[in-house]
């Protein structure tokens, strides 16, 4: 057992943020794949794993195409094996490479690393693509395709765990991590991929990817992530939603029928709270009040029952302090705890100040 690493040098610590940023760029890249490098990386992974080189390299456009292609390839290889024309497993043990047991060697620095990368650690983008491919595959074809989603290597979407090990490969370095060099080259070069004994399926990166400022998949006007073959996912601030919702085709009735609370909430935000409180006939709480610092505008509070929002909240309807193009002012809703008894209390809660302090607001722009 090699010596344990218990702390990082200042130089190693300084390398954390640039390393994180590099891997974020890899994971979120929408560049076309570097096909030469991806193939070379995949071949290197085969070599490191002690496997024969694959004969064929197949490029497809998305994780969905890849999963379907992998299912077709696995089926045909299984048929050949059954017929005795090949006597090998249909899938090589590439993924055994991931067993570096390096994790056990640097647990002490884990907390320190999480502190540095902490603000980006909630990075659901990759798992969302995974979750998006799975049910689509279920709808599209056989559960066998879904199985291919689970058995894929995720290329750029392996950024999460590969970045961690890559840090210890490049910056520290830790013996054993060099086994990952082929997988890392693939991750830096393309999207999901499927290793087989005699062939590799490699796939392209997305053509477009949209995030909100909190780095969650989000696009109010179209797909949040899109591939060249048309495979796309729709997402509202990190909640995966149906395309009809993003297109604005859901009315209040449809929203209230939605069984998933997260999707329901997203749809209300998409429709606009000011419209929703009227349509859903929500009960007003307290009087309508003048909006401090926003002359001529008012604030009003409404009860949002738990059946709508999965826990009881209230919603404060406000008017933007700045005019929109065309001279109108946008109305918007802010959700608050039920403890807020008046619009002023609700507005003050939003900034964690007292109602008395909020009432002194001189300008709300």
């Amino acid at each position: 057992m090699a010596e344990k690493i218990t702390e990082l040098t200042p130089e190693q610590e300084a390398a954390l943020e640039p390393h994180r940023d590099m891997w974020l760029d890899i994971g979120l890249s929408t560049e076309r794949a570097n096909r030469t490098e991806a193939e070379a990386g995949a071949r290197e992974a085969y070599t490191i794993a002690g496997l024969d080189q694959p004969e064929a390299v197949i490029w497809l456009d998305s994780p969905m195409e890849g999963a379907i292609g992998a299912w077709m390839l696995a089926s045909s290889l299984a048929e050949e094996a059954a017929a005795g024309t090949i006597a090998i497993e249909s899938r090589p043990s590439i993924m055994s490479l991931t067993d570096t047991d390096c994790d056990e060697r640097y647990p002490e620095v884990w907390e320190r690393i999480m502190a540095v990368i902490g603000r980006d650690k909630d990075y659901p983008t990759f798992s969302e693509v995974w979750a998006g491919t799975t049910p689509s595959a279920r709808n599209g074809a056989k559960s066998a395709i879904r199985e291919q989603v689970r058995s894929a290597a995720y290329g750029q979407h392996d950024a999460g765990w590969l970045s961690f090990n890559d840090y210890f490969r490049v910056v520290v370095p830790v013996e054993g991590t060099e086994k990952l060099s082929g997988l890392i080259r693939v991750a830096k070069s393309c999207g999901w991929w499927w290793p087989f004994d005699r062939a590799i399926i490699l796939t392209e990166r997305p053509t477009a990817l949209h995030l909100d400022p909190q780095q969650r998949l989000h696009n109010a006007d179209g797909p949040a992530i899109e591939y060249a073959d048309g495979f796309a996912l729709y997402s509202w601030h990190g909640t995966r939603v149906p395309v009809e919702m993003i297109r604005g085709e859901w009315d209040t009735t449809r929203i209230l029928q939605e069984p998933n609370a997260e999707v329901r909430r997203s749809a209300i935000e998409r429709l606009g709270w000011d419209e929703f409180v009227v349509e859903a006939k929500l009960e007003q709480v307290g009087e309508v009040m003048d909006d401090p610092g926003n002359p001529g505008c008012t604030i009003a509070l409404y009860d949002v029952p738990a059946v709508i929002y999965d826990e009881p909240v209230r919603v404060l309807i406000c008017t933007n302090g700045t005019t929109e193009r065309g001279g109108t002012r946008r109305k918007f809703g802010l959700t608050t705890p039920v403890e807020c008894a008046t619009p002023l209390e609700a507005a003050a809660w939003g900034y964690n100040v007292s109602p008395e302090v909020y009432a002194t607001l001189q300008r709300r722009a």
Partner: protein
Amino acid sequence: MQTNTLTIGEAITRFGVQVDDHLSREATIPVLTGAQAQGDTLILPAPDQVPATTPIPAMGVAVVRGEVGGNTHLLLPGGFFDAGPTIQDGTDSLVLGKLTVPQGSVVYQAHPEHGYAGIGAGTYTVSRQREQADVIRMVQD
């Protein structure tokens, strides 16, 4: 009001920070020493606080950074800003930092959609806004 107030057009010329073109370039930017909100940020007088000591650099300080560089609340030079803790889990403070504007100076906070906010002499906290969801989350304007 200070004597050296700027219009939005003059502020764009001076600081080079553009705002939406439907906001009137002739409008004078109010310079206030009381509480004021700009979108999802609140600037609140904090006269009892020890003044901030970190000079705001020539490029300004992004107190809330928006999506791909847009919709950033940017504090412009002319004062001091000590960045403070941001919210972690809803129980912490919403305070982004502490701003001090020296006597005779004005600090402007720019935002593409909300224009400019003028802040007169004094010490302030700059906070952001939250809402109630499953977990308390930050407002994105």
